[in-house]
Symmetry: C4
Subunit: 218 residues, 4 copies
């Protein structure tokens, strides 16, 4: 069983990572991770400069959002993270960004079809865009879960991106990759209408990526 | 009461910040701050390399623009900063940039509607674009104040951006955020026509952001 | 005869180079080099962070893809590298990326005409785009070789870029330059229809570049 | 009288500067400076990595292009630099780039009207685009001089940018600024048709910028 300090380090690295990768600006966005055994979530504090944030600044809460440890207030987006953790028991990390290209497509309410082998690899299907919802109660969490399917990323119309995965590192990878493929798709859509890969082709890439790719045997 | 040296440091950091954030190029742009109690303004010198500028190079003037301290000439945009300080007593910092995406929208004379929850959060309404004015007398300052409303940023047609706020740090945040949301909006506008959030939705985000966000109690 | 350690260093530098140049994201892409005398290929491991990869992490295989040295699994794209090495005996290095601008044109199935003197210099003709192929067997290698002609780069529809050259450094230069000219071409194509240079003009630039340019006598 | 070593340092800094500013890629582009009293030009060597280039690697030639000092071959673009030095006796530095946004407009044969106060400030008029010419003899130098007028920058159709000025630093500033304003103009032109400033307004900005701006008295 990993220690809470290890999770704290992972969440801090993910928050630093989305900042250095240009997925967030000033105080926008946030990353969290969950310790399922202890029932604790670690998340970025609200409105804090990324480049001044230290691991000790992160906030620890329980699954109802009650602060357990930390001197700062947690991100105002904490309820959305918690909703995802409660409704997707396979989730270990959640990241929220307003990354420019993904959010631009979300501003138009557009899902991203599997135009690229990289989309097939990572997402296994089109990347869904949930309709606009306000910030009251669980509206955002509900919209994300309703739209997700097996995609590790949901775009939120007029708002931004939620990415998640079995680990904080997996959520980070999904957050980076959705911006990268959104950028390539946006560039192509400016010049013409690309053709999505048919589902049978998408499956070939997804299956290979999720069986033989990386250093773990499939 | 903060010392003048603290303000000098803040103004220097804001000038370094707009340079490192890519909001200014070569010698374009400038940041200033005001010490209301002493009636003194600190501003970037004219035509100086950002990466060679030291805090001691900044110029101190009174509210009529008379140099009080410093070996260099102040920015030629000093009169516009002073005009804003005189007409908006709640202003502690002013920043001028030609940041690319915001200026591109300004080149077309376009205000930026509240297409994004991030615009609602930070600006509370559409970000106004003032009509083109020349560089004579107070024309620029007048145009900025006439267009501002409660927005902390005004675009100036065919010219660039003025951002301001209760502190130098707040002006800096507004200058960074207007470029960020301009970039996302520009990307969306290339592909289609996004729908602005209705005023009732904008209010929800603005009110939350200005009450519960960050580390100060609302 | 260069040592295998020198080649290992070159391949590591090319992998670092494509990452620092922004041509690859997270785990996408890979660079390899061949030692023709020893019949050995050195390639990036599958799914490894670029910024944590050390030269010793690279994988050494023979020309049939059998691992000869290394603790990690090789890139899943190894078969495509090997196919190119077998069918182009003048090739010393191969690089695969999903670099955004080149891949956006590939997403539309577009070859890149010689719109620029820089394209004439480096590529000597239009940069070809091969049709979409799946990831089975040698389909990708075959598509690349069939489309290449004398171009050191082939775009693969809905997928990305393969670049190659007599050395690993030459493949790296081709991978960087195709993204650079794709970016400029994309920018122009957003605003209008540029005219390609006629073949007689392309020849002038290509011949000069390949005779008098650089520090080696033509 | 400045020493030749000072000029060598300035030319080296300009070459480093265009690389760090992203105006050149791999081996593209070059910067030079002239010592009018000694009749000597210092220029980048052909095909050398910018980040490995040391001041001692630069090549010294006379105004006919005969190498006077240095172990490397000079840039193949040397004749164009020399032509500009011979025909514009007020020129102290010349820079050639393929910077993406300026070159994209050049690819379409477009001059850049004074859409922005920043263009009026720096260029005093529209930035001209010379028609395509080949690389034979003085064709490029002739095209640049014929198109320049008082602009410190000329775009070359299907090719790139020549920037020059009374000093190497002035040429560098012009090369940076043309890419910056090209980027903003390109962004605006994607969404609509901006209106250029009328000549009487351009004159106001240019005259202020060239009289009261900076630290030298006008």
């Amino acid at each position: 069983m990993a220690s809470l300090d290890q999770l704290r380090r992972q969440v801090w690295e993910a928050n630093q990572g989305i900042y250095r990768a240009g997925l967030v600006t000033m105080h926008s966005g946030n990353a969290s991770g969950i310790d399922r055994e202890r029932g604790l979530v670690i998340i970025k504090p609200s409105g804090m400069d990324y480049d001044k944030m230290k691991p000790a600044d992160l906030v620890v809460t329980d699954l109802e959002g009650k602060k357990v440890r930390g001197k700062w207030k947690p991100s105002v987006d904490l309820p959305h993270h918690l909703y995802i953790y409660r409704h997707r028991p396979d989730t270990g990390g959640v990241i929220h960004t307003h990354s420019n290209h993904a959010t631009a497509l979300a501003m138009l309410g557009r899902s991203i079809p599997a135009y690229l082998t990289a989309i097939a690899d990572e997402f296994g299907d089109e990347i869904p865009c949930a309709p606009y919802v306000d910030n009251i109660g669980d509206h955002i969490g509900e919209a994300v879960i309703a739209a997700a399917g097996r995609s590790p990323v949901v775009l939120l119309a007029n708002h931004g991106v939620f990415a998640f995965g079995p680990t904080v590192a997996a959520a980070f990878k999904a957050a980076v990759m959705v911006e990268d493929v959104s950028r390539t798709c946006h560039l192509a859509l400016q010049l013409g209408q690309p053709k999505p890969l048919p589902p049978s082709e998408v499956k070939k890439w997804y299956d290979r990526y999720h069986s033989t790719y990386g250093q773990n045997e499939g």
